[in-house]
Subunit: 243 residues, 2 copies
């Protein structure tokens, strides 16, 4: 029998689902999981997702780089915020990073608390590697959109739809959120950037006069073909056959 | 300035929104709000939404008809369940109905508790009357999808999209759920029934060998041109210019 796949449109809805024993793909396209993919492509050693900026800054003492974002803005006193461009810097190669963001790192920690068997990070930048890996691992799958402060967002929903469109023949889908995400992706895939620029998060970037280039960057398919996966408390880069 | 409109994809997310002072459109296409529209078209006097079947059956003593559904099935011992066909019976004319359903009546009560100024029931059966009324009332608007046990569903999302498509030039939309609902409706509006039959709720009906005709019935536009609106604890039929 095919593996089941479900889409959870915001972390606020995750407690309604059976998470234990499943594989959870955490999706925060703008920008946490995109930046994580870029970081591993650049050669980061491991990433520690943490809940709060205070907790994050503790790790300076242990030779971690510390990255912290809230409300789409890099927090003062940290090495990095949440822009994928910051994670292209070759100086971060082989370093460890403690990372806290408004939505993405919270979704990872929540999946762990609810007993997920495996947790991986998904973004357009690693779509193909992710889908190949999902197809060959044995668990039922939850695509968890990190959303924005527990509200549903467009870009994460579209990415969930992209994953379903790719896996369609290899998974069983009994989930309205998944059907709708797939339909939206199929309709909008050729105008993805124009469509996402209408989203509340892209508008938020615009209002901040920041991070507009990030939208363009984060919608490029397969430019960071890595698979960030949780091992214990850390995200590491899974060695996959296709990388 | 235009009124703001937001879409809340499930009642579980409603506490994230400012509800106080707004107009909430409760949407439970399959089937509570469709049946409410049919009931008022048939000439029901008023409908009392109640939380539990136990509370509902109390009202038998006060000459109410009592309608109760759970998990898509009419509960034993009640006058009616939740099928719109039951609410076409001319014997219900001028009667009062106490009504409890899995999702729809709960969403109405929650909107009231969170301080909505006006609460109305929306379905494809009263789309045009509803949109005309929404355009002329002064409040910001929340389209609240009743969903299924706090999960997101397809048919309520599509209806929210239909309302946005109609009101588009008269409202301000800064809400990804609304943008996505509108896009889905625009894409699927000519295949609405085929698409909704793929939904988890239609599949649930199929598994019960029941209520399949209800899907067809509930997707007909403007066949029950009434506006169910909360007055105190009751839904009544608002007299509108277009009825």
């Amino acid at each position: 029998m095919n593996k089941q796949i479900e889409v959870v449109l915001t972390p606020a809805l995750l407690p309604l689902y059976q998470v234990k024993g499943k594989t959870v793909v955490v999706i925060d396209v703008l920008r946490a999981t995109s930046s994580m993919c870029v970081a591993f492509k650049t050669g980061v050693n491991k990433i520690l997702p943490v809940s709060t900026p205070e907790e994050c800054s503790l790790f300076k003492d242990f030779d971690f780089l510390c990255a912290a974002e809230r409300n789409a803005v890099k927090l003062p006193g940290f090495d990095m915020g949440n822009s994928p461009f910051e994670f292209q810097n070759p100086l971060i190669k082989d370093r460890n990073i403690a990372f806290t963001t408004t939505n993405g790192t919270k979704a990872i920690k929540q999946s762990k608390e609810l007993g997920a068997d495996k947790i991986v990070a998904g973004s357009f930048l690693n779509l193909e590697v992710l889908c190949n890996w999902l197809m060959h691992q044995p668990n039922d799958i939850i695509l968890l959109c990190a959303g924005w402060k527990d509200k549903v967002n467009m870009e994460d929903t579209l990415f969930a739809g992209a994953v379903i469109a790719q896996l369609k023949n290899n998974v069983t889908l009994h989930c309205d959120s998944g059907l709708m995400a797939e339909q939206l992706y199929k309709t909008m895939q050729h105008d993805l950037e124009d469509y996402v620029r209408k989203s509340s998060h892209a508008q938020r970037f615009k209002a901040l006069h920041a991070a507009e280039d990030d939208v363009h960057f984060c919608l490029h398919l397969n430019t960071a073909p890595v698979l960030p996966i949780m091992q214990g408390e850390y995200l590491v880069s899974q060695q996959t056959q296709t990388v």
